[in-house]
């Protein structure tokens, strides 16, 4: 493809690509993000290719390998577009039947999705997991092969850039402001206002736009899916940002743990450059803007703005005091605007739809949709996108299908290490920045880890404190020592060595760390402790007073035993690394608690659920 020299060129190319008819033929769509690949999606891709060749269907049935569609638990899955037939957990051997049916406009009924005993559902859009979402961003992942800019263009890509170029800087910023979009990285700062600040900075030495793709919240992967599945949307968002703010350089800072995302974004940048959508005098206009990918190196604190800037400069990622804010002095001392991946991904939507229609979804002060990573102890796990202001209950029960097994859902953790746990009794809370903060958590970037009766809340608090202790950069004494001390106390409690005074000390420490630290890591470090103390104090007291872990998680407080369901098959006896299990064949086995290391091996190998942990 030739480099495009004008906005008209771009429109003509888009029209030509859309008119090729590729989208009209039945197409086998296989999500193959990191999650899909982990589930064997690439084997399906190979099987599909082989079948298409063998049946001489090349050209009559299309094949599209895409990023994640969100229903990761059901991967490797197949979607037959444009009809929308959805096949979950497809075995490679079934690919032939699926392709054969698609060629004859039929459906393979026995491979369709069924919810438990429920009847089979043919179309993806009719499955509750999908039907109750508003998939403005995620829905686009299934339309494009992320490694082909042609796909993005054919589905209307880079039209927002053209619209922005036609409108000019002030109207672009005004539109983003009017949309009410708030930053999706956690703090919820109004995006338009931030852009306006950058636009007002003197730009003689140049200005930077940064896409924060550090996604440090453990348990969240919305940004990975966007980068892997639709990287051009992020490039386009940044290009619109460049038009609006006068920035001339861009950086996408991607965490090192996301190799596929790094690859797809790098490919997208090269393709955009080759088409003249990045670089000097883009589309023949005065706009010059280019983007570089910078890889992180595994440090949570680098997601914080000032640490991020240092890391981009190739230095140790320690935060610094603000002001000056990055918008005033950022990378190499130049004005720098930082937005989260999902924030950038929303920008093309605003320009395409217009601010009013964008804000028609969501609530007052919280416009648009938000993607959540719905994981942990929930029946249907994956990425879900809902209007801002949807309630926790709608997300966890209606979309997620509620608990996995018999154990009831107890709480949900939002906001990662800076957030907190919200009890099931408060699942009527709307998910927006303000309501969750009031409830003692934060919305954060979108991690939603569901916890049930088998999750110990003290252990969760201890887990987060261990995380923060490890990730504290150590610059502030109170953060470094405070997280360490809180972790020790929590560890003591989970070992049955806590006292009621410990709880008071925890609360005091938590407040001290909150008030005396410099960056967001320290300021919010106490949230996991304070929120669990607030809602689950009883669980703490149970550990302290009775040396009992109600969830049977804390190793020091549980014992393993074998109950009457045991058939004497010997699987646990053979698997036990401590040789702590004895028993004759076909007779109930017993665990020698003196030798038992509580490693959990017997629980995972027992097919009869005969190992009890209490």
């Amino acid at each position: 493809m030739r480099s495009l020299s004008s906005v008209e060129d771009l429109a003509a190319l888009r029209q030509r690509l859309a008119g090729r008819g590729e989208r009209a033929i039945p197409t086998i769509v296989i999500p193959a993000g990191t999650c899909g690949r982990a589930n064997g999606a690439l084997d399906l891709v190979r099987a599909a290719k082989r079948e298409l060749l063998a049946r001489e269907l090349v050209g009559r049935i299309g094949l599209r390998v895409t990023g994640c569609h969100g229903f990761c638990e059901m991967e490797p899955s197949v979607l037959v577009a444009p009809h929308g037939t959805f096949y979950p957990k497809v075995a490679s051997e079934e690919m032939g039947r699926i392709i054969g049916a698609a060629a004859q406009d039929r459906v393979v009924t026995d491979l369709l999705f069924a919810d438990g005993e429920g009847e089979r559902i043919e179309r993806q859009d009719d499955i509750p997991f999908f039907a109750r979402q508003t998939r403005r961003l995620l829905g686009r992942n299934q339309e494009v092969d992320p490694t082909r800019i042609e796909d993005y263009l054919a589905s209307g890509g880079y039209a927002a850039l053209a619209a922005a170029l036609a409108a000019g800087p002030e109207p672009v910023v005004a539109e983003v402001k009017a949309s009410g979009l708030r930053g999706r990285g956690g703090a919820g700062f109004p995006t338009g206002a931030k852009w306006e600040m950058l636009a007002r900075q003197p730009g003689r030495r140049g200005k930077f736009l940064v896409c924060n793709a550090d996604e440090g919240d453990p348990g969240a992967y919305m940004d990975r899916s966007a980068l892997e599945g639709n990287p051009h949307a992020i490039l386009e968002g940044m290009l619109v940002g460049a038009v609006g703010t006068g920035a001339n350089e861009g950086v996408i800072y991607v965490r090192d743990e996301y190799p596929l995302a790094i690859r797809h974004v790098s490919m997208a940048i090269r393709q955009a450059r080759a088409l003249g959508l990045l670089g000097e005098r883009i589309l023949g206009t005065d706009l010059s803007f280019d983007i570089e990918v910078v890889r992180g190196a595994g440090a949570f604190v680098c997601g914080e703005e000032t640490a991020l800037i240092r890391s981009i400069e190739g230095k140790v990622g320690e935060p610094r005091q603000r002001p000056p804010f990055p918008v005033q002095r950022g990378i190499d001392g130049k004005p720098t605007l930082i937005n989260n991946v999902e924030t950038w991904a929303n920008i093309p939507l605003i320009l395409e739809k217009g601010a009013a229609e964008f804000a028609a979804v969501g609530t007052q002060g919280n416009s648009g949709t938000k993607i959540f990573s719905l994981v942990g102890k929930v029946k249907r796990t994956g990425l879900v996108e809902v209007p801002m202001g949807a309630t926790l209950g709608e997300i966890i029960h209606d979309i997620g299908g509620g608990p996995v097994g018999a154990a009831a859902v107890k709480a949900v953790q939002t906001g990662g290490p800076s957030g907190g746990c919200i009890p099931a009794a408060r699942f009527d809370l709307p998910v927006d920045y303000d309501a969750l903060t009031a409830a003692g958590s934060i919305m954060g970037s979108g991690g939603m880890i569901v916890m049930d009766a088998h999750t110990c809340m003290v252990d969760v608090a201890r887990y987060f404190m261990g995380f923060l202790k490890q990730e504290s950069c150590g610059k502030c004494f109170t953060c470094r020592k405070g997280t360490q001390r809180m972790h020790e106390i929590l560890d003591d409690i989970t070992r049955g060595e806590g006292s009621p005074e410990h709880l008071q000390l925890l609360e005091e420490l938590a407040l001290a760390v909150k008030d005396t630290t410099m960056c967001g890591l320290g300021q919010t470090a106490a949230n996991p402790v304070l929120s669990t103390l607030r809602y689950f104090r009883e669980e703490y007291l149970e550990h302290i007073r009775h040396g009992r872990c109600p969830a049977a998680v804390c190793k020091a407080l549980v014992t393993y035993s074998i109950n009457e369901a045991c058939t004497g098959c010997g699987a646990c006896r053979r698997a036990c690394p401590g040789e702590a299990i004895r028993g004759a064949s076909k007779e109930r086995h017993v665990i020698d608690s003196a030798r038992c290391t509580k490693c959990g091996m017997c629980v995972t190998v027992c097919q009869f659920g005969a190992v009890a942990v209490a």
Binding site: R46, Y221, S311, I312, V375, C599
Partner: protein, 299 residues
């Protein structure tokens, strides 16, 4: 630290010099340089840190500070295989800790350590981005989902035998151990003329009126690589050297969109190779002056 030693070894670090030179003038160069040096050497030994300091003009203290701050860098030698278990929140609530303990017990080392025989390095991560599938373990880039202590032994034995199968489930480089023409069934693999130490595929090639022989790295499955070299296979037609059947496929590479090359692997699997890769000549090398020039022009 002994300066003499540092200096003499440092002078012998042409790999570091080359890496540093390639990054001259680039922002964040230090982190990128350290990453590449680690990829080349397996870890960051003292002499490499000294050489990096010298070639970047940063002080050794600076270089050491960066190398020790970021978790991705290792100052100790690493094993042939890396086993990384996720301890992110989603994996933690589903029993990730027990998986780490099981791995640790099987390997006889703690997280962050390498087995004495140099086979395995055990690591933990804060989240590997596949949270819906937790607990997750990644071995040499391959993801294992819903791991529990009972599955650990099998994962390790799979890691020991490596990814030799052409149908590597993770789509990382698929090594074709045996390859034949899909049309006539005769062998295409030539162990006598390796690329990157692996047997290469010998095929006939045609390009702008020129005809000759091409060699393709057999280490490359269809789904690895980057697109900048995509044009190579689009312009070069490849044929079976025995029966002259065309090997360029109508199907396009899922990763970069150019037509792929089909061969049959030993077990009957159809392997499709694509010209995409970091360095073109490594992937699809075409012999003969005319063709080489053609490819060189495309770079």
């Amino acid at each position: 630290m002994d300066t003499m030693r540092g200096d003499t070894i440092g002078a012998d670090a042409p790999d570091v010099a080359a890496i540093a030179a390639a990054h001259r003038g680039s922002r964040a160069a230090l982190i990128a340089i350290l990453r590449e040096v680690q990829a080349a050497r397996g870890y960051l030994p003292e002499d490499a840190l000294r050489a990096v300091a010298r070639h970047t003009g940063r002080s050794l203290v600076d270089v050491y500070a960066v190398a020790s701050f970021y978790h991705s860098f290792s100052l100790k030698p690493r094993g042939r295989h890396t086993v990384c278990a996720c301890l992110g929140t989603a994996c933690h609530v589903r029993g990730g800790q027990q998986v780490v303990e099981a791995l640790s017990r099987e390997l006889g080392v703690r997280a962050g350590e390498t087995t004495p025989d140099g086979e395995f390095t055990l690591e933990t991560a804060n989240c590997l981005g596949a949270c819906a599938l937790g607990p997750v373990v990644v071995v040499d880039g391959r993801y294992f989902a819903k791991v529990n202590p009972g599955k650990v032994r099998r994962i390790l034995s799979q890691a020991r035998s490596g990814v030799a199968a052409p149908e590597a489930a993770d789509g990382e480089r698929a090594l074709v151990t045996e390859a034949v023409c899909p049309e006539c069934g005769r062998p295409l693999l030539d162990a006598a003329r390796p690329i990157d130490g692996y047997p290469s595929l010998q095929v006939s090639a045609q390009c702008n009126g020129w005809r000759g022989r091409a060699r393709i790295s057999c280490v490359d499955g269809v789904l690895d690589g980057a697109p900048e070299n995509a044009a190579a296979l689009e312009r070069v037609r490849l044929f079976c050297p025995h029966c002259s059947a065309g090997l360029n496929d109508l199907l396009r590479c899922g990763e970069c969109g150019v037509p792929t090359v089909s061969v049959l692997a030993g077990d009957g699997a159809l392997v499709q190779m694509c010209g995409c890769g970091e360095q073109r000549v490594r992937r699809a090398e075409v012999e003969g002056a005319g063709a080489r020039r053609e490819i060189a022009q495309l770079s």
